[in-house]
Amino acid sequence: MKLDETIRILNDAGVEFVIIGGVAMGLQGSAHLTRDIAFCYARTVKNMERLAAALAPYHPALRGAPPGLSFQFDAKAIASGLNFTLSTDLGDLDFLGEVSGLGSFQEVRAASDTKDISGIKCSVLSVEGLIKSKTAAGRPRDLYVLPELRALSELKRKTGLE
């Protein structure tokens, strides 16, 4: 996982995104580890074009797809789909157009905090947003992290820590 580099690449390309999932948990203070980076992205034509162009040099391919499957991660493909799980030279990257329990990019961004990561101001899904999305997703692996997220929320609230 090349977190710093991936954030810089997307930011430099002007991509509108919110960091979600396990990386958002870690950035908010959870001890959770993850091997992929998940983002919610804005589904405007311009943003989808920027996202496709930003990732093109890093050979995005559908993760787990059979070898030889023809796929090009371009603006047209992004517009035709919604959620993409990709293998890239930057590591495994997930791009979601919507997040369960929250909705589309605008709602996800509204539920995010701004964090300074290596000098870049990034939108990161808040602990409360993570609790909502994990509760709505409802898979065992989502429910498993809820006690930690609720404790983290309480610890932050009672101490004023970020």
Partner: protein, 68 residues
């Protein structure tokens, strides 16, 4: 983290109030001290920890300890 915040946080981690979310998490075997350690770090430092931690998965994948 200020000294006051550190004091409050340490007390909450070591003695979470009965019925609190922190107490429930502790019963669920969440190591609350790890939350405190993470909150002492900046987001940039947390990002680096995440990247370092992901290497565990990469190593496991290379040695086929996790499904491909």
């Amino acid at each position: 983290m200020t000294k006051v915040q550190e004091t409050i946080a340490l007390d909450l981690v070591n003695n979470p109030p009965r019925g609190s979310e922190m107490a429930k998490a502790k019963e669920f075997c969440v190591d609350l001290t790890l939350l405190l350690s993470a909150l002492r770090r900046t987001p940039t430092e947390r990002a680096r920890s995440l990247s370092d931690g992901a290497r565990v998965f990469e190593t496991a994948k290379k040695t086929q300890l996790v499904e491909k």
